[in-house]
Each structure stands twice: as C-alpha cells, then as structure tokens.
Symmetry: C2
Subunit: 227 residues, 2 copies
C-alpha cells in the first residue's frame, strides 16, 4: 500500500462471457472469431476490457460485450468467478471477471463468419484459459439446476411443464421423475399458468402454458432440498 | 478492443478478505485499522492491491494480505465474488476480488491496536462496500454449510463429533438432529478417527477424536442432498 498506482505493474481487467443456449436438446455456447492479436482469427469466448468511462460495474461490461459483439440484449447474466495471474494472457498479469449468460435459442443472432454456436461437447481448442472458464460455467449451471429455477432462462417466455422438465433433463443429462419434478416446481411457487393459453399443435390434449411469476424474472427461485 | 491499455481509464484491482472464526460459538470477523487514506483510521476488511510482480494469482494476493497484514498463514481461502464500479472506492473505478477465509480461533494472532476480532452481529460501520462483501461471505458460509465440510475449517486439527456438530449449529443458527448429522458425515466419508485419541478432560466417557482425511484437507467434501 506504500506504492502508488503509477509505480505498480499494471493489471489488465476484462470480462469474459460463457453464453449458453440449448439447441436440439444439447447445451451450446457462442464463440466469436477474435479480430485482433493475441490469437487473431481464433474462436474464443466473447469478452472485452472494462470501459471505466461508461460501465456501471463489471456486469454492465458483460452486458455491453454481449450487445456490441454478439448483438443480443436481455440474457440472464450471473457472475461466475474471477480468473487471474501472469500467464493467462500473453499481454501480462490479467484479471478476467467471468460471467455466465443463458438465452433461449430463438433469441440468438444468426451465425456468421465471426459468430458461431457450437455444442459444448465439440468445441475447438480455446485460447487463454477460456476452456477452464467454460468448464466452470458448465459446472455452475449443472449444479445450480439441481436446486433452482436457473434452466428457465433457456426457455422462451411461455412453456409447458413437459418442455421445462425436458430443459432440466438436458442440462442435468439424466431423466427426472415427472411427479416429483412437478411437486418441486409447485413448492418453489415461481410459475403461473398463462390464462387461457394452451400449447398449439399438440397431437392430443393440449398442455397448459406457464410463465415465470414477475418476482422471479430477475432472480432465481430456490428449492432448499434440491429437485 | 481498439483502444490501447494506455488510452483506457485505469481500473484499480485489489483483493479483500472476510476472515471468519468462531469465538464463544459466534461467528467473528477480523478487521484492520486502515493506515492510509481513504478512510485512514477506520476499521475495514483486510485488503490490498494485487502485486503483479510477485502474486501468482488473486488467491495468492489474498494469502499475502493475510500473512503480511494479519500475521496468519494456512487459512482456508475461497473466492467469494468480485465487486466493481466507479463508486465503491473514492480513488476511482475499481475491482475488488473478494475472498472468504476460515480459521480456528486458536490460530488467530492476538488483537492489537490495529487488529480487532469482532462478532459479525456487532460490527462498526464499514468503509467502501465492505458491508456488502461481509454479507456475501456470511451468506456463502451459511448456505455452503448446509451441504459441505466447510465448517471444519473453523475447528482445530482434531475434534469430537459433538464439537463438529456444534460448529455447524453455530454457523446455521439452528440445532441439528444428532443421528442424521452423523449419518451425513458418514456418507460424505471425509473424517477419520485419530487412532487411540480420545477427548481429554471429559466428565464421563471420553469421546473419540476425529480429523479430516488427507484428500479433503484442501478441498471440500460435499453432501449432494444436504444435511
């Protein structure tokens, strides 16, 4: 604390975002082709430096990165962990505040030469420590899906209970008991039936459509004893 | 990404540590009296800037802060969350990577004019966003105590099962059922009896002493369905 800011070696601070979505029942992530060195031309997690003159906090930096580099707004964003050290970025000692973002597939932008949506099980080699950041995001999403409403952020605005259960199952990689799943959702008390709305195009009896109660649109509902 | 590091407004990066211990069955935290501005003379969480020339990562920065400013080594350390923004520190846009540290009371240094150990329920007003950081640490420790071996880091090297249960209860603020607590500890399979060691000074039948199995000294044992 005796040294001034000027005398200290600079520390680079960026945000990196693991943006997850479900495509054909499998978790996918969005990669961007890096425009500049280091690793120019390489597919990497969306990220960028903090813009101290405009960002209200690091979460705002992550939202700005998603808006300006991926072209999306309104994704569910939560802080994952902060990665740091002298070796993770060839430009020097750096700090990456990593975020996890969830978005339903239909809200993603079209893929382009610089934006790719790939299954998390079949990603190319990633630069920096982006592989470790991605693994941390997958671990977080899977563990949190065991006791919270997190998966709903991969659903559209309305969904049937079978569709919601399918999303949970796709993340967890295992089937869930229908009766106990519904009981848990009831206990968590975070869903409401959309009045008069039923699934269209169903072969038999159309299922009721649900949506998230307003109180739980910005924060997660928790199930203290798990699913 | 078009601007160089020089052209960007600087971002200060520090670590802050919520160091928790149990004194007389109540969670306490360590505060240091700040030597320099801002908030000189005010009690605050231990913290300091990252020293890029010596720290291997931010966790090493936190360990260095505990060693040099509090005088302790070997505390259990885990990253809590990163706090950021233009207003949390009067010196400008800043990032604080917050850590939670747990240590048994007997390993704490003696209190001094600049080091204080206070019950978390009776802290003075804290500078910066240290109150929010402290609340996040308490929330983390309480929620993680519901499904992991985290509380053991508040115990000494050996302990009886009643002592361990007491530590869990002190953190959770509620009594636990002895039979189910012991069954959960058994299921988690992270404790071993210290051969031939029994609690000294017990009034009646001396209780068996336990310690953490080597595999769980650096990482937590988890109970997937909670206590």
């Amino acid at each position: 604390m005796n040294r001034t800011a000027e005398a200290r070696m600079p520390v680079q601070v960026s945000v990196d975002v693991v943006l997850l979505t479900l495509v054909e029942q499998e978790l996918h992530t969005v990669l961007l082709r890096r425009a500049a060195a280091p690793f120019a031309g390489v597919w990497a997690l969306p990220g960028g430096y903090i813009h101290a003159e405009e960002d209200a906090d690091a979460k705002a930096s992550a939202a700005r990165v998603l808006k300006t580099k991926v072209g999306i707004e309104g994704a569910y964003l939560e802080q994952l962990a902060t990665f740091s050290g002298p070796a993770r970025d060839p430009r020097g000692w750096s700090v990456a505040i990593a975020y996890c973002a969830l978005l339903p597939m239909q809200n993603l932008p079209p893929q382009s030469v610089d934006i790719s949506v790939l299954p998390v099980s079949a990603l190319p080699q990633l630069p920096f420590d982006h592989r470790a950041i991605l693994e941390a995001a997958l671990e977080r999403v899977r563990s949190k899906s065991l006791y919270s409403s997190l998966p709903v952020h991969l659903c559209g605005e309305t969904f049937t209970l079978p569709q919601l259960q399918q999303v949970y199952e796709n993340i967890l990689g295992e089937p869930l008991n229908k009766v106990s799943f519904r009981r848990k959702m009831d206990e968590m008390d975070w869903l409401e039936a959309v009045p008069g709305a039923r699934q269209s195009g169903a072969a038999h009896r159309p299922a009721q459509l649900y949506r998230v109660k307003p109180a739980f649109r910005q924060e997660l509902a928790l199930s203290p004893r798990g699913l």
